[in-house]
């Protein structure tokens, strides 16, 4: 049975830790500190709005906790968290615009534009893509998700994902080249 104690942080913890596969307070806090910044980066680049990204990030963790997911596999839990976040992004764009496939018309929306994080060229290039393209690229090339995982998260057919990803990558590369970026070697060893 769970015996509740409270650590200095104020989050209740159990002595059992992750034995049941369900996170307690301390395990959640540790998981959060390992994954939150990457999740926020994903949400930020997919949504283009920092405060909305923070809201959806909290909602994603809340849903993860409420899901009662029982696993000790950190990768599985993280993949599940990103899938929840992907669904939240999809729901957000569906609620906002029925034409989810189309890239947002940022030029015509000064309110949104003012909240866009355009510090980097990547942000600028990403903001010009359709939300689904952004999510696909991020999941495939940043999170290293498999085609199957991405298709499941985005509600697509695995068979069509490869060509969709290829087209998204081409559009992104075009935008990056348009901004003057060329292939570079990163931390070459």
């Amino acid at each position: 049975m769970i015996s509740m104690a409270t650590v200095a942080s104020g989050v209740p913890v159990t002595e059992s830790g992750l034995a049941s596969g369900v996170m307690d307070g301390a395990a959640f806090q540790a998981f959060y500190s390992r994954t939150a910044r990457r999740l926020r980066a994903y949400l930020l680049r997919s949504l283009g709005d920092p405060s909305l990204a923070d809201d959806l990030m909290q909602e994603a963790y809340l849903r993860l906790l409420r899901s009662g997911l029982k696993t000790d596999d950190e990768d599985h839990r993280k993949a599940y968290l990103f899938r929840i976040a992907t669904n939240l992004i999809r729901d957000h764009f569906r609620r906002r615009r029925p034409e989810y496939e189309m890239p947002p018309n940022l030029a015509g929306d000064p309110g949104l534009q003012s909240t866009i994080d355009s510090r980097s060229d990547v942000a600028q290039a990403m903001n010009g893509l359709a939300p689904r393209d952004r999510q696909m690229l991020w999941l495939a090339y940043v999170e290293g998700s498999s085609h199957q995982e991405i298709a499941k998260a985005l509600g697509l057919k695995t068979a069509s994902l490869k060509s969709m990803l290829s087209r998204a990558r081409h559009r992104m590369a075009d935008r990056l080249r348009g901004l003057g970026l060329q292939p570079i070697e990163r931390n070459q060893s």
Binding site: Q29, A36, R37, R38, A41, R45, L62, L65, Y141, L181
Partner: protein, 155 residues
């Protein structure tokens, strides 16, 4: 569009920043892989910058507490749902029993109509306190109370 056989290796190399000379030569000559490398490197640089950024994160304690509260709310909702159903069943029973006394009540009312012009007002309490009238009124009151309870539970 066919995938280059080195594409996965290029993605890994670009993400990790660990290129072999052969792979680098290939990426320089293959249009698709050059494009992949450009995108992957740009995204990797971007995520590194975002992760290292020291913008404060939302407090995990708040998320944890919210999840506990939500769980408690759901537990309480599940518990009160049974009570709500019992109350609804009570209303139905009360109405059914009340309806079964309908003929008796009708008789009482028609009796009242014939008696009232001639009967003394002093006899009225006796009529109202008749068993049928008492039962009927009791069930009406019970039904009203159950309805009131259900409304206050819902709000």
């Amino acid at each position: 569009m066919s995938e280059c056989q080195y594409e996965r290796d290029v993605v890994e190399a670009a993400r990790e920043g660990r290129w072999t000379e052969a792979l680098q030569d290939h990426a320089a000559s293959c249009l698709g892989c050059a494009e992949t490398a450009l995108v992957v490197v740009a995204l990797a640089e971007d995520v590194d910058a975002l992760v290292l950024e020291d913008a404060p994160l939302p407090d995990p304690k708040v998320i944890w507490i919210r999840s506990r509260l939500k769980e408690r709310q759901e537990r309480s909702f599940r518990a009160t749902r049974v009570i709500t159903w019992v109350q609804r069943a009570m209303i139905v029973c009360a109405l059914a029993v009340g309806a079964s006394f309908g003929p008796g009540l009708r008789e009482l009312l028609s009796g009242l109509r014939t008696l009232l012009p001639t009967a003394a007002l002093a006899d009225l309490p006796l009529l109202i306190s008749g068993p049928t009238a008492v039962l009927g009124l009791t069930f009406v009151v019970m039904a009203l109370m159950a309805l009131w309870n259900e409304r206050s539970a819902a709000s």
